[in-house]
Amino acid sequence: MARAAVLGRLTWQVAGVEQVVDETPRVRTIVLDVPDWPGHRAGQHLDIRLTAEDGYRAEREYSIASAPDEPVAITVERLDDGEVSPYLTEELRPGDGLELRGPIGGYFVWDPEDGGPLLLVAGGSGVVPLRAMLRHRQRSGSDAPVRLLYSSRTLGDVIYRRELDQAADGVEVVHTLTREQPPGWTGPARRVDAELLGEFAWPTEDGALAFVCGPTSFVETVAAGLVELGYPPARVKTERFGATGR
């Protein structure tokens, strides 16, 4: 039956929670044991489904935070008025089950064969799929040069801070802190704009591939800025998220 065949390609399954890691006071990484996982590419998503006792269901799509050869992990930011993220960031414990399906998506992905240079631009938790790309790059032995421009409100909001501080050879990370900067901060202290992109982005002639992920307005500004610098639109991959998406 055609319907059964269609359903068979993307079915819900129950994963086990292996580990939870607090990244910031609002953000948590959940490492999962997914029994029937076909493997994923760096940048792909999965869908999480929560079912209430009365049968009400809520689904959300989350970027996968881990490299393809690592256990599946997602990183979730708590939205105070959210239906799903408070449960994931506050209630969920190792040993619990979590219903999911995936992997999903083929557009916002990077494979080592795609090469570089790579320009990664993240706003807030938009860093999650880019972190999967960074880990994949390192674990696959790729030497594609990478620049990551990462916008956070404060230093305390920086996700994966320690990991990014120890960035591998060939990876440059620049943080911009938009709301509050620690004493002695010498880095950029404003939202990503055309001028900041002009300073930091690979020159157009390098033929860089750009991945931009963050809230919608952030992505619109960055993508337009890169195209203005001369990046071909087809080399600027974008992914927008909002309160309903995460």
Partner: protein, 81 residues
């Protein structure tokens, strides 16, 4: 209402079409602009899911859940391949 993009409905489209659709190309029946589905404008909070052209804002796709059945309206898409 918050505008996202086609990445946000990769799972829904996979469920409906049985294939990875975010890299498929959709052509707007109104203005003729062609774009990968991941690049189209998506509203999740409309009654149902609404996918619009990034060039002219016409509706390409509407997906509504009616008592567990996904109803898909593709009249605004000239092609989806």
């Amino acid at each position: 209402m918050h505008a996202l993009d086609g990445n946000a409905i990769g799972g829904l489209l996979l469920e409906v079409f049985g294939a990875e659709m975010t890299t498929a190309t959709g052509t707007c029946a109104h203005c003729g602009a062609a774009a990968q589905v991941a690049e189209l404008v998506v509203y999740l909070e409309a009654p149902g899911t609404v996918v619009r052209c990034r060039s002219c804002e016409s509706v390409l796709i509407v997906i509504v859940d009616v008592r567990g059945t996904k109803c898909v309206d593709l009249r605004g898409a000239a092609t989806l391949q």
